[in-house]
Every structure is written in C-alpha cells, then in structure tokens.
Amino acid sequence: MAERHGGPLVQLTLWRVRELLREPEAVFWVFAFPVLLALALGLAFKNRGPQAITVGVVEGTADWVEVERVLGEADGIRAEALSAGEGARRLRTGRIALLVTPGEPITFTFDETREESGLARMLVNNALQEAGGRHDVREVREVRVTEKGSRYIDFLIPGLLGLNIMGTGLWGIGFGLVRTRKNGLLKRLLASPMPKSQLLLSQILARLVFLVLEVAAVVLFGIFVFGVPFRGGLIAFLAVVFIGATAFSGLGLLVAARARTIEGVSGLMNLVMVPMWIFSGVFFAWANFPDAMHLYIQMLPLTALNDALRAVMLDGTGLGGILGWLGILAAWGVASFAVALRLFRWS
C-alpha cells in the first residue's frame, strides 16, 4: 500500500543509505581511502629495476685505486672509497653491504645474515677474480621476464579489497547501531511494531548497496592504474564479495550488540580487526607465520576472504575451487548474526 512507502525493510535500509551518503567523512573512508592506500603502497613497492648494491673499499691500502675501479665497472655493484673507520661504521648501520680491504689476501668484511651482503660477496668476488684473469668455462644466455600476477601490487590489491570489506562492514554497522542505541532510538523502534530482525537485516542490505561501489572502485583502480590481472569469472568474484561482506556485516552486528558507547564499540572492533590485519595475509603471505599457526589463521574470515579473492583474481579459480573459503565465511556470517540477535540490547 502506498502509505507504507515500500514497507519497513525498504524504509530502514533507505535510512542507513541516506545517513551514509549524507556524511562526507563516511564517503571518504569507504571510497577514497582504500584507493589512496593502494596508490601509496603500489608506488612504494612498484617493481623497480634491480638495484645496485653499495660496497665500501678501504682507502690508502695497497692498490685500492685499482680495486675501486674494477668494482666500479662491474654490473650490479656501486663502490665507494671510505676510510677504515667510516667503512666499519657504514657496515654497522647497513648503508653498505660489504667492506673490501685490498691487500694480499683481499679481506671481505660482511654480516652473513644479511641477504644482500651474501649477494655482494659473490658479485665482488666474481668481479675481482675476472679482473685477475679467471675465465668462465660455460657460456650463459639470459632471458628476463616480468610476469603479471606475480608482482607485489598484484598480491596487494586483493588484500586491500578484503581489508576494505572487513573495515566497512564492522565500522559501518557498528558505529551506526551504537549511535542509534545511544540516541534512545532503538528503544523507540522497539516500542513500534517494527519486526526486530528487519532492523538488523536492513543494516546488512544497506552495506551491500555500498559494497558494489567500493569494490568496483578498488578493483578498477588496480586494473587500470597498476595493470593487476583479473583472470577469474565475474560470478565467482561476486559470490566471494557478497558472502564476505555478509560475514563481516554479521560480525559488525555482533560487536555492536551490547556496546552503549562509541569508545566501547571501537575497542571491540580493534580487538576483532587488528589480529586479522596482521595474520590474514593482507600485506604479506600468512605462510610466513610458523606452521603451527596455519590452521587457526586459515579459519579467520579475512584469511578466507583474501585467499578466495586472490584465487579468483590472480589464478582464475572457478566457483568450485573456492567453496571451502565460502563455507568458512558463511559460517562466520550465520553464527555471528544468530548470536547478535540473541545478545542484542535495545536500550
């Protein structure tokens, strides 16, 4: 009937959508922030050409000028003439990878736990041995490639997408609900015949309206600015995004189920989100953590979301290949929605 303007679910959803649209800060955090973050990190970790390794040559020793010249001409090394004291200091602070003290024998001083020092030792040794007359016995041909999908930015964009879906789900729903409770509005709604579950459902629906836009912003940015590949099917991708967003909306309802203050709910959100920022493979692969933790890490919703997004975007995995991750996400969503509805405080 016309007087009801589409019924309570439509009106409740419109309320949340309007509130978000009319709040410029919210629009910034939802749309602009993830894109700016991707831009900053993308530029910082953009694949550069291989960088020369800096090594030091101690001045004033026998034939140090000759050694510096040989190293200066070698590929991949930059040589600097330094006093013995300065050389030792720079080595300690990591500004040079290796210190060469010419003489007989030539001394290499370096820290073997530093990866680039090991590399420097090899390059310096090769250059000096060749200059001294060593001949290579096998001929080598080099083919250099850069595979799209294996770069850091390709790893990063799906991670940022997952991070954004988690953040907007928790923030968008958590803060909104707690503010509504603080304003006495939840109690006022309870006094009306509004179906309770529809209030919670409308929070999730309003999230999904924005989800389409925020996901499109990050993905299109990745594709067009950094050439991140998108190899999977759209249906599999949308399934991951929607089920993931619903799971985090459920978690948002859960953290906001009882909190009466913005400070209270912020603390809970950090408790939920910070471990996942670290463990769930947003900025680096979770496989770097000890094996004993892997099972737990894989059960986290953000891990499942990130892994599924990477599988679809980078590996082109179809719907059948991501069902396990979707199952984990759906379980989080259903469980947190059910618990939130039970715990929910109306005043």
Binding site: H5, L12, L14, A191, S192, P193
Partner: protein, 309 residues
C-alpha cells in the same frame, strides 16, 4: 469492550542492588481521557510508562492495556499504541518527512503522514533535516511519529521537559487538540501547571506509588482550602500553634526560613496575621499569596517540593 484503556495492579520494579523504582503501583486510565502521571524526577513515572508499553519487564503485578496483555498479544498491541519517549534523538541526517515515512512503514493501519505533520504544526519543516529543528520542533516530531500510527492510546513521556515556555505552550495546544478529539493520552510530567492544564485526571506518584488520584480540581479541593499564604519575618518567627487558630487558616507548615499557611479565605486570614505580627512587634520581610496548585498538593502530601525531586 472494557472502558479502561489501561489497568495495572501492584506493579513492582527493582533495579539491583537496592533501587526500588516501583513499589506496588496501581493505575486505571479510562478510554478517551487525558491522564497525567505527576511526580518528581525519579518517582517511577518513566519506569511505569515503559512497563505499560512492554519495553521493560516488571518484577510483580498485572498489566492490561486496551484489554490485552503483553504476554498474549504483544505484537498486535504495538499496532494500536503510539509513543513519544523521553530523550529519543531522531537520526540527524534524515529530514522530517523521511523520519515520518520510516515510522509510518511499521504500521499496517496508520494515518496520513501529512495529516500527522499538520496536527503537530510542522508542515513548514517538512524537508528540513532533524539537526535543523529546535528543541520544541524535535519534540513535536516525536509526537508526530506517535500519531502516524493512528493510535488508540498515546503515551507521552515528559513531552515538554527542557523546552522554553513558548515551545511548551505550542506542545500544550497540540495535546489539548488531541484530547478534544477524544484520544486516550497518558502523559508523564514533573510540571504541575502542565498536569493541571492538560489532564482530565492526575495521579501523583512518589517513591514508586500513587499517593493521590483525581481531577486536578478535586486534588486541590482536597487541601480543604484554595489559597496559600507564605510569609517570613525579620526575627523571631511565630509558632505553628500561634498561627493555627487564626480565622480561615486550615493548615500551617514551618519551612526553613518561612511559614506556609493553607487558607480558605485570604481576606480574613491576612488581616488577622498582620494583627498577630503587630502585637508581637515583628516586621514582615516577605509576604506572598497564590491560588493553591497541584504543587501545594504535593507539598502537603510529601513535605517536599516537586522540583526537589
């Protein structure tokens, strides 16, 4: 159909560890009347209203609203009630009309939104954001969200708390208009003038109990006198026993720095008082008289002023 809109017996509500908000409260509200719950802050008015609306659980007692109980007919009952709760803040970012559409959508049978808007005189704010409303306009919006339900029974919890006098009068006109249309209204207030002006009947509530019930006129008449004389002298107050025999004086109460006489005939009592003071060679420092109000009724019953809480 019962002619009672609300009937409750022996309501008890405790807030652990040791607050007793309601201590056996009885109440009957008839259909078509505007009924006032009057009492100081903390008397248990809001708790009563929340229990009657099924928002707060009671520890003991029986409640019937519109002939139904919350246990059996909770959801159906909500369709028939309208409410303006104390301290509700509507969403800042929405406009007045959007808020009303939201609340209207909850009711199967409601009224036209524009009619509700007209009833609270808010048409010109139709498209204004909630942030742009004054305190009085926000409160009128709260009443409008109750009216869109086209309710059989309307709850107004402290509808004018914190408003300036002009905004209060605006709201009074709206409530008087509802009353003249025969709507049943239960309102709570700690303003005696509000209860006197708006309500057909009033229950005075203190410490979680009804301590007096009747029309404002009956309650004031119950004092046995229609006027109150308050005076103070510069030094040496006459005793209660000296004042009681004066003509027209019904009751005497000594306050910290003044005496308070409840009198039937001011024109006899005041000259007699002057005579007494002259004989004792006492000088008046203050003298005031007024028609007895519900405030005086409350003072008589509790020994405290309504505003003391």
């Amino acid at each position: 159909m019962s002619d009672l809109a609300i009937s409750c017996r022996g309501l008890v509500k405790r807030y652990p560890p040791d607050v007793i908000a309601l201590d056996g409260l009885d109440l009957e509200v008839r259909r078509g009347e505007c009924f006032g719950l009057l009492g100081p802050n903390g008397a248990g008015k809001t708790t009563t209203v929340e229990i009657l609306q099924g928002l707060t659980a009671r520890d003991a007692g029986a409640v019937e609203v519109l002939g139904q109980t919350w246990e059996r007919n909770g959801h159906a009952l909500r369709e028939r009630l309208g409410t303006a709760l104390q301290e509700t803040r509507f969403p800042d970012k929405l406009t007045v009309i959007e808020v009303l559409r939201l609340f209207r959508s909850f009711y199967k049978e409601g009224t036209d939104i524009d009619r509700a808007l007209a009833q609270v005189n808010l048409q010109e704010k139709r498209n204004a954001r909630v942030t742009q409303l004054s305190g009085g306009q926000h409160q009128r919006l709260a009443v409008a969200t109750a009216l869109v339900a086209d309710p059989e029974l309307l709850f107004l919890d402290e509808p004018t708390a914190g408003l300036d006098p002009q905004a209060r009068r605006g709201l009074w006109d709206i409530i008087l208009d509802l009353r003249s249309r025969g709507r049943t209204v239960l309102l709570t207030t700690h303003y005696m003038d509000e209860a006197e002006r708006l309500c057909d009947r009033v229950a005075i509530v203190d410490h979680g109990k009804v301590i007096a019930l009747g029309t404002p006129r009956e309650l004031i008449a119950g004092l046995g006198a229609e006027h109150v004389v308050e005076f103070a002298v510069e030094d040496g107050m006459p005793s209660v026993a000296d004042l009681e025999p004066l003509p027209g004086v019904r009751a005497v109460r000594a306050e910290t720095s003044a005496m308070r006489l409840t009198v039937t005939r001011v024109h006899e009592a005041v000259p007699a008082l002057m005579g007494l003071l002259r004989d004792r060679e006492l000088t008046l420092s203050q003298l005031a008289t007024h028609h007895a109000t519900l405030e005086d009724v409350f003072l008589q019953l509790t020994g405290r002023s309504l505003r003391d809480g």
